[in-house]
Amino acid sequence: MEEFLVDIEKRAYRMAVLATRSHADALDLLQDSMIKLVTKYHTKPNNEWKPLFYKILQNRIRDWHRHQKVRNLVYFWKNDDADEWLPSQTYEAVLDTPEQELQKTQQQSAALKQLEQLSTKQQQCFLLRSWEGLSVAETAEIMSCSQGSVKTHYFRAVTKLRAMMEDDDEITF
């Protein structure tokens, strides 16, 4: 179980951060998901841990968004800084030329920002399908929606990302 968590924790953290845009909240969701997996499902076969973990994480993300909606309704007069960002946005220096390092950092920031601009469902669907390599059926099970919805979310995510990347970076796909 520990090996599984070590393997998956960084990607899960990144998914939670993209969904919540907050390091603290993402960490809470990650820890809650890990605790639920190890306490409730550690007896399940190893090959079921990954979809189970992501299902738990997706449920936590969905609950977090619902909570935020209610919170925003109640505290609508508070002006949260939407641009507040996270320590993970800065990157450690590597042995590249300054120009290469700057270009890499800009590209990485651009990809994350473009993913942020997608809706939560499109974003998470894209990450599960493309980054994690899960099938349509597995993604539908994790996101508690139909396979048709998964295909729709994924198609829209790809379309939007393509448009954004072509606009921002003048890259043609």
């Binding site: 070590v6 924790e9 960084k10 820890q31 993970s88 990485q108 790809v158």
Partner: protein, 141 residues
């Protein structure tokens, strides 16, 4: 020779694969370059989860049924009112069950006959009287 629509589909798939590759590479780079503080926080979260697993392993495997039920009910986010309602219902049933009117009357035939002294002493015990009355009622039924 492929039809134009098939050519377009092939081109779109190629574009999609290229886009996926680009985004995935950037996502992989982003997690490979996480700050040390962030990595430490993630490790701490993992340790907290694994310590829960260790605690659970130390507990008796045969959790009382009642605590299992409470654990399941308390984890149900959509029905937080279940436990207080269940507690109120249990208390209401208990109070009604223990009310004085629920104690069956003594059978008169038992009191009419002459009883030995020892039996009389036992009969003075309320619980024994109740049990005796209940048995008589069950026999009649």
């Amino acid at each position: 020779m492929k039809s134009p629509s098939k050519q377009r589909n092939s081109q779109e798939m190629y574009d999609e694969d290229k886009l996926k590759q680009t985004v995935n590479e950037q996502l992989d780079n982003s997690i490979n370059r996480l700050e040390k503080n962030t990595l430490a926080d993630i490790v701490q979260a993992r340790s907290a989860a694994l310590s829960k697993l260790a605690e659970q392993a130390e507990q008796s495997p045969y959790m009382p049924l009642f605590s299992r039920v409470i654990d399941r009910l308390s984890s149900n986010q959509t029905a937080p009112w279940l436990i207080p309602s269940a507690a109120a219902l249990i208390i209401a049933i208990s109070v009604n069950y223990l009310s004085v009117e629920a104690i069956p009357e003594l059978p008169l035939a038992l009191m009419a006959g002459e009883l030995p002294t020892e039996d009389l002493a036992l009969l003075e015990d309320l619980e024994f009287l109740t049990w005796l009355a209940k048995n008589e009622m069950d026999a009649v039924l």
